[in-house]
Symmetry: none
Subunit: 245 residues, 2 copies
């Protein structure tokens, strides 16, 4: 992979998808991914606005953010709203500089953009490695979706690489391995009665994921932690067997 | 004057004028000037796309580029096409950096954008102090007018720090809390028979610690993970009650 994937989560207007594909083509980005676009796919409005951008033709559609990011090992969540999460917050410039280094080291990298108006759901932000935020005026911060893609794509085409520092460690695992680790951890915690009261479960899961994602586990580490979770859960063994009877 | 004027020369589509006004508002630019917009002024399509941007209301209309730039002392002409002129050519980033200095020194500064498709006439470029060009892919360089304004406006707003609303993350826990978490985790793993063969135990512990330390847990997070380990190891709520039966 040579450049970051642009991932539009639940985009509503085909016009914005098309305009995003156009500006991606202008600035050398090729990998457009759509998560459950509201009006289905393909979309005639998107085609009209893309004015022949090759990016639109090769766009891929996914059902969930997890599927759209499964092959990536570094994900940024674009948001203008603070989420109260323990997560790094980068300017567009800093995020793209970092992504450039990561890509050079072979890490698949993607940038999430939420739906018009609503933006990204908290769980999508929680699962990201860092927040990318643009320097919008707080008094008028409603940035059009395709404009947000434009400035990120422009950043990609501008500026200089930030070298090294990424090449020393083994690369982080693809996101699908991390998601499997999370799901394994959470299902064992659930079985052990960790999540209570039930209405707090989503928040507890987001907090766990936000904390763990920062470790950027390699594939080997993800396997090791799954082994550790399994050992602890099976060590509890009898309890589970009795419960399953 | 605190920020550059954005001057749209013969803009054709009200939608692009409105989108430009919107993104100018997003990124802190206020001075929009229109030279002979094709469909007259005001323009309902522009209003629809501006979604209430205060920039649109204060936009001014001029007959000619000369009139629109009369009060300025530094003008950049945005173009993707070389014009064979003996004129400085700057990236968006360099032009905005230079403009920032000029504005700080009290020079009125403006940036010209040509019409959709045609771009700027040669005489408008010739009359400018320098060319501003964006790093578009030569194979797909048709950049939407409002997108071009977006990236220039974004350049203007960049260099500012991450907005304050994104509060700093809580600091990492003191190392003693992390060490307690590690010891707790490792003693439960040991009890569950995770560490084998025994001579590999120190290496396995080091690998676990190396991975987890990168997450830089806060105190709250360290407590949460200790709770999770405890839950996995001994169960909680129903699981434990069943086990005690």
């Amino acid at each position: 992979m040579r450049a970051p994937a642009i991932i539009l989560v639940n985009p509503q207007m085909g016009e914005n998808i098309g305009a995003a594909a156009r500006v991606m083509g202008n600035f050398g980005l090729a990998d457009l991914r759509l998560v459950a676009p509201r009006d289905g796919w393909p979309n005639p409005q998107a085609e009209a606005m893309a004015v022949g951008s090759p990016v639109l033709e090769s766009a891929r559609v996914f059902e969930t953010v997890a599927e759209a990011t499964a092959d990536l090992s570094r994900v940024y969540a674009t948001t203008a709203r603070p989420r109260g999460m323990e997560k790094r917050v980068l300017t567009g410039r800093a995020a793209i500089a970092e992504a450039r280094g990561a890509l050079a080291a072979g890490e698949g990298t993607g940038i999430l953009f939420g739906a018009e108006r609503q933006g990204l759901e908290n769980d999508a932000v929680a699962g990201a490695d860092a927040i990318l935020t643009l320097p919008v005026d707080p008094a008028f911060k409603s940035l059009n979706l395709a404009q947000a893609v434009a400035v990120v794509a422009y950043e990609w085409a501008s500026g200089d690489p930030v070298p090294d520092a990424f090449t020393e460690m083994a690369p982080p695992a693809p996101r699908i391995e991390i998601d499997r680790l999370f799901e394994h951890f959470e299902s064992e915690l659930d079985r052990a009665g960790f999540f209570h009261p039930p209405d707090k479960t989503p928040l507890m899961i987001n907090n766990l994921r936000s904390a763990l994602i920062r470790a950027r586990f390699t594939e080997q580490e993800a396997r090791t932690f799954r082994g550790a979770i399994k050992a602890l859960a099976i060590g509890r063994g009898k309890a589970r067997i009795v419960r399953e009877d």
